[in-house]
Symmetry: D2
Subunit: 380 residues, 4 copies
């Protein structure tokens, strides 16, 4: 993995004290020095935003009381001092206005998923971004794992034959109790329909949809969805299963749940084609099982010689040195940073999920929520 010429200057919206995902983004940016935090509007409460910025060692002048102030404040700075990218790590309903404004103010964007709430927002954002040419990355971070990239390379090279079947699951247990009633911050907004949009489906189902698309390159053509709310009193789905029909006629099953006690962050993807299969699990991310018609099984491990260039480029350490969640996240950041340096929005080339991936994810979530319980519906 080669170094970047220089870190990109970034400003963050959201991610103040107590937030979880903001610090993950910052670690991902720092690990390779791909981006450097220089400004932020970390909270909708100005004092909190400023305190958070001070914790992070920022210049007080660049700790803004609102994202609108950050946009105007930074635009007032000389071009080679001002931020180049805005990272959006707020609750989901805030993504859209910030993203639109950021692009229109001439900034690149890194946005957490799901990208926006409605299909209309998604379409608008795609249109605005396409016109601008801004780099726009959506942090479907699991695409950053070396073995996920290897899986994609195996499929696209025809290593499994035509794909017939996909099983993806993303299981958690942290919402098996009515945690939102305790005031826990994460549970609070993530189970609020107004701020989260969707529940398990939006929060983790969107990752599941994305990894299927990333690895197989196939489109969903029809869905047959059920969503459930297993915890009494909860206002949002906490469990979902979606049968998929994919281009090439492959069948798929997508399961997302947050009420499976003991499941921590259980994202797993299995893909089978005519002649072979792949199995990858996020909790042991440095292994990729490849199977065939008659055995033996093959276990690829991160950084092994003989892996494809896509996975090698996403690897920092020799084999046997576990690369984890932050490293994968950092690979998405590197890709975005390289694209910004190159002045060219091309997620495919630079290895980050882009605005189109984000829009597809939003539409998938909404299709599931809208059609749950209605049997098969043609998708799109």
């Amino acid at each position: 993995m080669s170094g970047l010429k220089r870190p990109i200057r970034m400003g963050m919206v959201g991610g103040g004290r107590d937030a979880f995902i903001g610090e993950v983004h910052r670690m991902a940016a720092r690990l390779d020095g791909s981006m450097q935090l220089v400004a932020g509007a970390f909270s909708s409460t100005p004092e909190k935003s400023i305190e958070s910025g001070r914790d992070l060692g920022l210049d007080a002048a660049r700790c803004y009381g609102s994202w609108e102030e950050m946009l105007s404040g930074e635009q007032a700075l000389p071009i080679d001092a001002r931020i180049e990218v805005i990272v959006i790590v707020t609750p989901n309903h805030v993504h859209f206005p910030v993203a639109i404004a950021a692009i229109e103010a001439g900034f690149n964007v890194v946005c957490d998923k799901p990208m926006v709430l409605s299909n209309e927002e998604a379409d608008t954002l795609v249109a605005v971004q396409q016109k601008s040419g801004a780099v726009f990355a959506v942090t479907y971070n699991y695409t950053g794992y070396p073995m996920v990239r290897q899986a994609r390379a195996i499929v696209s090279s025809g290593g499994l034959g035509v794909i017939r079947k996909v099983m993806v699951e993303y299981l958690q247990g942290w919402l098996a109790t009515p945690l939102e009633s305790t005031g826990q911050k994460q549970a609070d907004w993530r189970t609020d329909p107004a701020r989260a949009g969707a529940g398990a489906m939006g929060d983790i189902g969107s990752h599941a949809e994305n990894i299927v698309s990333f690895v197989t390159g196939l489109d969903v053509t029809a869905i047959n969805a059920e969503i459930n709310t297993h915890v009494a009193g909860r206002r949002i789905d906490d469990d979902a299963t979606v049968l998929l029909r994919l281009s090439t006629g492959a069948s798929g099953v997508l399961s997302a749940s947050q009420v499976c006690p003991g499941s921590r962050n259980g994202l797993r993807l299995r893909v089978w084609g005519e002649t072979g299969g792949l199995d990858w699990k996020q909790e042991s991310p440095n292994e990729l099982l490849e199977t065939s018609l008659s055995g033996p099984d093959i276990v690829h491990r991160t950084a092994d010689a003989g892996l494809g260039k896509e996975s090698q480029a996403a690897t920092r350490l020799p084999a046997g040195h576990p690369e984890g969640f932050i490293e994968a996240f950092a690979n998405v950041y590197r890709g975005a940073a390289e694209a910004i340096l190159a002045g060219r929005d091309d997620g495919e080339d630079f290895g980050y999920p882009d605005v189109r991936d984000g829009a597809r994810g939003v539409k998938f979530i909404n299709a599931v929520i809208a059609n749950a319980g209605r049997g098969w519906v043609t998708y799109e």
Copy 2:
């Protein structure tokens, strides 16, 4: 595990040279000496039947040319010499006539699954068996594993709280190619609708249904099924996914496929309740993972002190001495043999799946096949 007083005398229908499952039944019977093969109609070709019997060291006089001959031949023997149980290991479409005739001739029955083809056959068989009081065991052999019995004990004792979610999968790859076109005997009849009834759903989906029922004790109240035939030219389903609604409102997903290259005999059951979960995999059958709301995970292993009496009773060896597929199968045989010795048909008490389990399995398969693609349908 205590010994049986004496082996039950058994006669077999099917299971001649080249058959797979017949020899499995014989090993299961021999392992504990729970049943002793003394007669057979091993093939619909009389010469083959007699040759197969000779291979097995049987008295030539008890190697019959047809199952009808076996019934009459054995009935002509003194009561303490004649067979006590008839084991049916033919292709599926033959199960029904043999089972009915066997019961009516006063014999007990061990029958492979799926028990029969149609719901009508199932109902008739239940009625005939109930009237007779004959012991009738259906070899849903996976219920014989000690850790499956432990799983059941944990659920029924309330160890997981109310059950919310079930995921069961049974994945194989041996039919990923059009194997039936090569004349392979197993593939030939198992992909023939007339002899097999259903494909993946009947062959292995029925095991998946059974293990859910066995472990959770819940009934299926609605299904939303899809079935697929992924291999061109195949005349039967080779892949299926069924969304389940279970009593108590639990949701479930059942996946059965025979076109997953590299999946050998991948039966896995996961169950989650309000406060915990279980995970069991047939290919490493001596482990049972139990999870909870906040960790750590617990791994039960066959024969560990502290396991319940149900699993201990199904165990022959100290911990760390793997018990496998045949041992589990033999547990079903032991249960049936003990019931025959006791003259009492009670699968619950003696630990074998009985005619009601068999009938439920048949109806599940038929419901899936009949309703595939139609969205949710109330079951029963």
Copy 3:
């Protein structure tokens, strides 16, 4: 796996009620019908012996009060009725006199390990057996696992290059407390120097030595041993580590312990050569990991197509159907039975450990016990 022409008639010495290993031998014999128990001297207490025989359904006339009576009683029977093989499953110190007498009375022998106590006994037994031509099998049962046989085939075919390093461990925890003081039968005799000879080293270390020899074909040329007794008051070793020097200059480490809480029956063998390695674990016996200089890793699974004929011949079921401890044990029994039918003592050909393996094991144990703490000593 093809069937045997007929079962061998066997008589058992030891293995009465409460014994563990006797029933294992009987299950191993029954599973394939390779041997049939028809006589026994199951206990040194005549009444117990007779009761045990009755439990097993034996003819009362062939439940003998002592092994001497069994020998003479069986010799008095017609040649086609009398037992053909004597199975010795007594405490270790009884093996020698029974084995010698059995051979001299014209019987074949299956003997548990360690074969005898002293090197002199071992030499004598080898000489007596060689002169007689009797089939003599020692139940180093772990050699019966299909994947152990596959491992041997890979090594002997040069698949790893010249062997450089071996690590073998056999760890248990059942003697981590002074169990013998509770009167537990197994612990009682296995920790008594007079009856057991050696402790952990004799009981399980001998299996570890045997599997190294079986898989690698190498001889031990020097040892550097330590033995320990970790439980206060115990009269025998319960823990040992032996550094090995092997022919070809390979280095090895053998660890055997019975005081590792949580280790159940943890036999594991790892072998590395110039270009690859193997890793096999008894508790998940149907997997064999094969590694290479630059990856990926390869996982062989029992019954996969492409495995060698040695492992295929030791396999009863399709891939994914776990074969366990009894099945492996039964493979040794089958080999011995086939050799008896053929009238030819050739463990190599028929797949059972023979008297020479037994003698080598005895000498290894004794060398370790005699030289523990003395640094490197040339072996033999």
Copy 4:
């Protein structure tokens, strides 16, 4: 995990282009922003040093041609601009002079392992450091894993009873071929006795010794060592096994090898006491298996509720989000940075291995090399 007040200014010696471990240190420093690279003498070739510094975005004035220049150059800067810590990532033989000079020039030190080559150097360095009070961290990075810290907490709380047995292994395969003859940079210096001191024993055996000490708190009291050179023409050991006697009478086995094809970075520690055991593997670092006398097994996973404060403090993410090698390494950096901020050298308190750990490691390596093949020798 709470943030640091500010990053420590660091200068690096070694770690230029092509070096492996230098970049690991930099990532570890960057991940949490615990230290910031502001100066360096990255290579013994001045031009290379300067180029390397430029790659890293350093001020050209602080890219020094030698470490001596860096010391004097930095001393000339104002106290609040100059570096506070010197990170030594050169080949092993250079550690000593740099470390001594750095301390004497008033800097804190982070030094790679093994700390120095000879026992005399170790003693001298301890004395110099103790006098100075400088913070001195040795990057035994595996102590940074949360589950290693949890293991230590379990042992020290008496969770296993008195420790009886330790097995530690560190197996790699990258030197299974004569890689040094190809000019590969890492293999070149690591197999050169003058620059590396020792081979497998020094490079990875020292980590194995350290983790035993860290987790168990026990001292080695005697060793019985063998070292081997398996690759023809190699000038240094590439394989070693050491029997250990530990305080409390525990026995141990330490294996270190670099000639095990397919072993990538296989550090594994197992510890057993009277009532329980622990098993941790570096390649799946977020699991810790805890075993007991009678089962079941318990699997602790990083970030689970209920883990001790030591492991929680070393954790950045919720359970199920893998933390890897760099995260563990960064924990050592954080500890050192916190100690520097506090102006207090206390590895125990701040969670980093200190100069005493480094010295103990050096002496262990040297004892093994000096006494290999000589049987048991009392240690120290």
